[in-house]
């Protein structure tokens, strides 16, 4: 019998174009996603060397980082406009399919890939964006690359990559009611730190992962990079196959049946070994809130903000002190007492239909606290349309949320959706770095439910206490 293999080993072995002693492998790339911010210099590089795009049919572009989410066609920032125009010109010149700002397929690149069925198990997928790890939810090997590598993939459809080490993130038990995939990934990063995944591809396994929906799995894999891992994935199963079935770019008919069989065969074999393993009990995970300036600075909503005195080294102590100062918080303060000014529901982490459905359930019939400005930014035009069909837009608007067009928006505030200096935002995005949502802005990462609850209450609150059934 063959040696049992992990899904990473299987995908890798299927994609090696060339191998040499003491060199990385030359790896074939099945799908290259492109957006306006990290591609212009790559296309310019091609032109300077008179090179073409090897496989425009394996390349797909959209505009997401810079696009306005309100007054769609008034792009006040000329530099942003130039960047978007440049993408359009580059896609025209090199014959690359583009979902531009007016296209019905437009959206955050990591939302539309799966939506269109471009993302499939077993594929190697890259994009000049670190959250490309999202696509790993489908059992694809997907990772972020820099602009030089974008140019390399455009020219050759390959990348030189050293075979990665594998790390099994084993999630035992089941998540409790009101506890989400976002809370789980935040709890994992809080427990093991923001660099435990460096040099590894993470594979999420265990009962809790198997029972998650595809959208929840995307939230988990999305934040692999916040643990230091370029890629994180989940072995494909029936849930994966059901999601892909019928999507525009998915195989059809008997081709689909054959593909589904191949996809299932990719799952990690019983007895396969990993280079490392970490474990967490899902049952013990509570709703999470970050308090600091990296995603590992995170506590359960019932906890209080840590003190620099709890640190185990001088450097860690400095790091906590600096974070508290930037965030304008006191050690020992219960996180639930922290008042917020903004709520952002969106980003490639949490802007899919089910995210919006769950947030809408919380705000239905309630009002956003008068001290809070709250916006919902669907991950794609298609998510927006589906949500409107269900009337979610009405629920949000009646509660006092703004209902916007699709884009990356306030996750990184490259457009006009900026949190002002010193103000505090409960955000469903992925990074609470200094200045991420605006210079001097203070970000707290939470699940869509927790963000919705905070919008209503004006401060953080355990969402499980809000969702007790009303007596009939």
């Amino acid at each position: 019998m063959n040696k049992p293999k992990t899904i990473v080993e299987k995908i890798w072995d299927q994609h090696v174009v060339h191998q040499e002693q003491d060199k990385p492998d030359l790896l074939y790339i099945d799908l290259h996603l492109v957006h306006e911010v990290t591609s212009p210099q790559a296309f310019e590089g091609l032109r300077l060397k008179s090179r073409g795009v090897r496989r425009p049919d394996r390349t797909f572009a959209t505009m997401d980082h810079n696009v306005p989410t309100i007054h769609r066609h008034i792009i006040k920032d000329q530099v942003s406009k130039t960047q978007m125009d440049t993408l359009k010109q580059n896609c025209d010149e090199f014959n690359i399919p583009l979902a531009d700002i007016d296209h019905p397929d437009q959206g955050i690149v990591h939302v539309i890939g799966p939506e269109l069925g471009l993302t499939q198990p077993g594929k190697t997928i890259v994009c000049g964006d670190s959250h490309t790890s999202t696509h790993g939810a489908f059992g694809a090997l997907a990772f972020g690359i820099g602009t030089s590598e974008v140019e390399h993939v455009l020219a050759t459809q390959t990348l030189w990559q050293a075979r990665p080490k594998t790390l099994n993130v084993k999630v035992n038990g089941q998540l409790g009611k009101g506890v989400t995939a976002k809370d789980l990934i935040l709890a994992i990063i809080a427990k093991y730190g923001v660099r435990f995944g460096t040099g590894y591809v993470l594979e999420y396994t265990g009962e809790a992962i198997q029972s998650l929906s595809m959208e929840a799995r995307m939230t988990i894999c999305n934040m692999s990079i916040e643990a230091g891992a370029r890629a994180g994935l989940i072995s494909p199963d029936e849930t994966t196959i059901e999601f892909i079935k019928g999507k525009r770019h998915a195989p059809k008919g008997s081709d689909f049946e054959k593909a589904a069989k191949d996809w299932k065969a990719l799952a990690t074999d019983q007895g396969a070994t990993y280079d490392a393993t970490v474990e967490i009990n899902a049952d013990e995970v509570e709703p999470q809130v970050t308090w600091g300036t990296n995603p590992g600075m995170c506590i359960p909503v019932s906890a209080s903000i840590p003190s620099p005195d709890q640190a185990n080294s001088a450097n860690a102590k400095d790091e906590i002190s600096r974070a508290l100062e930037y965030m304008g918080l006191e050690a020992g303060q219960p996180i639930s007492s922290v008042k917020i000014d903004h709520v952002f529901i969106g980003s490639c982490t949490n802007s899919r239909l089910s995210d919006l459905q769950r947030a809408a359930e919380i705000v239905r019939g309630k009002k956003v606290n008068p001290s809070v400005t709250a916006i919902v930014v669907p991950g794609s035009h298609s998510v927006k349309v589906s949500a409107e069909k269900e009337g979610l837009d009405v629920i949000f608007k009646q509660a006092g949320f703004e209902w916007r067009d699709a884009g990356c928006s306030m996750c990184l505030a490259m457009n006009d959706d900026v949190v002002p200096p010193g103000e505090r935002c409960a955000s469903t995005s992925n990074r609470n770095f200094e200045g991420r949502q605006g210079t001097g802005a203070r970000t707290h990462l939470v699940s869509p439910e927790m963000a919705a609850a905070a919008a209503i209450e004006g401060h953080f609150v355990d969402v499980r206490k809000l969702t007790q059934p009303t007596p009939s």
Binding site: V17, V79, E151, D255
Partner: protein
């Protein structure tokens, strides 16, 4: 890409861990479509106040580091966003070598594509370099062929770097040109894909 074999330069210490690429170059400066001119935005929110005045308390504004070309920092340098604008900004500002006790994967890779040498030393070694360059003007030499770092005093360290990346940096190769020497293998791989999966 310019080849780099040896470099001697002044050390700038930045004694922090988990410096993310949002700090190295904030997002409002990612909108340019060229690779040049990002140095002026390096560590922008740390270097300048809201009026655009240099912050005295941020050490990179100290004139004694004006000619620094080697940055030394704590662990997990360059984490977060994949933006290659981060190494472009560091390089444009004048940094040729980055030393840290560990690096984020994408940033490390991005450095080697731009002729910046990323050097991982132990926490103890990094701390020595930080302490010495904080208290005094401190010059070190790096040798990519020998894989060594030598101070102007008794500091000596050696480092590891993947052979492929070392060769790239030493020779300043155009990686795409190297890959295209394997074009027939890529053609063959695609032909097999077409046959097996109809793609």
């Amino acid at each position: 890409m310019e080849p780099i074999r040896k470099h001697t330069g002044l050390v700038y210490p930045l004694n922090r861990s988990n410096i993310d690429t949002d700090q190295i170059i904030p997002k409002q400066f990612l909108k340019r479509i060229s690779r040049q001119g990002f140095g002026q935005f390096l560590f922008f929110n740390w270097r300048f106040d809201s009026e655009g005045t240099p912050k005295k308390e941020f050490s990179l504004n100290d004139p004694k580091y004006k000619d620094a070309s080697i940055l030394v920092a704590g662990e997990n340098f360059g984490c977060g966003s994949s933006r290659e604008h981060a190494p472009w900004a560091l390089q444009d500002f004048g940094f040729k070598v980055i030393i840290a006790s560990s690096f984020a994967d994408i940033f490390y890779n991005n450095c080697t594509k731009n002729g910046i040498v990323p050097i991982q030393l132990t926490e103890e070694e990094t701390q020595v370099l930080i302490d010495r360059s904080e208290s005094d003007s401190y010059t070190i030499s790096i040798d990519l062929e020998q894989k060594t770092v030598n101070g102007s005093d008794d500091f000596h360290a050696s480092f590891e770097i993947p052979e492929y990346q070392r060769e790239m940096l030493l020779n300043g190769w155009d990686e795409i040109a190297v890959t295209l020497t394997h074009k027939s293998k890529i053609d063959q791989f695609e032909a097999e894909l077409q046959q097996s999966r109809g793609e």
